[in-house]
Assembly symmetry: C2
Homo-oligomer: 242 residues x 2
DNA sequence: CGACAACTTGACGGGCGTCAACCGGAGTGG
DNA sequence: CCACTCCGGTTGACGCCCGTCAAGTTGTCG
């Protein structure tokens, strides 16, 4: 196992979540030529239309994937935290159909697409773990379609918060009791299909309900059960990968 | 190559879209134990919470995948037509996180999950094609998040129509000039996050713009360019798999 | 202390939901 | 061959949720 807080540690941790990795698998992962880089906030890692030849592993910090409508409206389609592989889809899809951006200062590791692809077939456990990871990605997108399509503002924002907290706790980033949110209200709006103004009103309402306490961009979930109930949050769709 | 209009024909056709399938790959696909079944409209093929041990190939007719919020609101997350594999995600995710339902009478073929999984690794071309297919799935979900999150009703409905027409044309199901839509206005609403009433008003408006002509549930796209422009439709996200 | 990003709040309006009634075609049964 | 039923489409009235616009406030960083 690699050292804590190195890109390799997070890569193996992520892939082990699916279960079976053998000694040899882990050893081979260690031979991947990772190129580690520290980047600032709001760094565009991939832009829609690019033809990437590397995959991006997030080792520290936060990032998001987003699309833009032709009229310039921005929609965040996922948030990411340490340990997430940000663009496995580029193993098979040449053209990036969305953009990728950090939302805090971050550490990323670039992995040559060809190397990862080769490893996926030489070591089936690794291939299966990677594939499974992309399928969980898909499951989360489906939940987001439901979220923006059929939930009202309060439920929608609460759901996004619940998902984020659940995923963060799973990798040891804070707990529900005292939680630092890395994104601005505008970004919450971009993720939920709302305006930042309405996100603000909605957070105030959740605050008023006693579900959470706010202190600028620091949140404290006062009542996790209540927040989950408000959010209609059922973590089954995360397939225990969060 | 299998006979036209058999499940096997559509399976090989789908997988060939990614490029390289060898003789042996196609031969092995032919040995898969398909169990073909004709089903009626509104048949629930998989329900959220199921643990399926088979994958479902749609050989004729139309289907959709949908989720329901705890309050009972329904959100369709994708439409499917002949040749589509409806639940490859169950190769790796045990529990179904959404339901699967026909929207017309249909022919489906069930493939044992274990057989497909084995073939995916014995014949890497097949595995890669299947994986790639799931990634395109993901890309379409991302576009839907953008669609319901950031487009107004008219653009949203038009986009859904454009996507459906593009995918249907690709498998020889009608052309833009005269197009039979298999879904009701309520289903269009469930897919776009609108009510059936507002879908009706929106279709009327698109009709008024001269983008399409309606005659009950038969549509005729009068001006494909115009409809695409109204819809902000750029097929790049389909990754040429439509 | 000035500049700036992000949060906050209020006024106002519109897009879309809700409710309700009606229509029209397809299938069914006598 | 006609009446009945039912599903889905169509239309109008009304209202609310959330967007828009605009002005302020607060914290941070130089």
């Amino acid at each position: 196992m690699a050292e804590l807080d190195t890109p390799l540690f997070w890569l193996t941790r992520k892939l082990k979540l699916t279960g079976a990795l053998e000694e040899e698998d882990i050893k081979r992962l260690g031979t991947l030529p990772l190129r580690t880089e520290r980047v600032s906030r709001f760094r565009e890692l991939v832009r829609e239309g690019d033809i990437p030849d590397q995959c991006c592993l997030l080792a520290a910090g936060y990032a998001c994937r987003y699309k833009e409508s032709l009229r310039g409206a921005r929609q965040i389609v996922s948030f990411h935290l340490r340990g997430d592989l940000l663009d496995i889809q580029h193993l098979f899809l040449a053209r990036a159909d969305h953009s990728l951006q950090t939302i805090t200062p971050a550490t990323v590791a670039w992995i040559p697409k060809a190397e990862l692809l080769r490893l996926a077939w030489e070591r089936p456990n690794i291939g299966k773990a990677l594939w499974r990871d992309t399928l969980i990605d898909g499951s989360i997108f489906r939940e987001w379609v439901l979220n923006v399509g059929r939930r009202d503002a309060k439920t929608r924002v609460a759901h996004m918060l619940c998902e984020f907290v659940a995923r963060c706790e799973a990798v040891g980033l804070g707990s529900a009791e005292s939680f630092e949110f890395p994104m601005t209200q505008e970004q919450i709006g971009d993720a939920t299909g709302l305006t930042s103004v309405h996100v603000n009103r909605t957070l105030k309402a959740l605050d008023g309900d006693g579900a959470l306490l706010r202190n600028r961009n620091r949140f404290q979930v006062v009542n996790w059960e209540q927040l989950c109930a408000l959010a209609e949050f059922d973590p089954a769709y995360l397939h225990a990968a969060a």
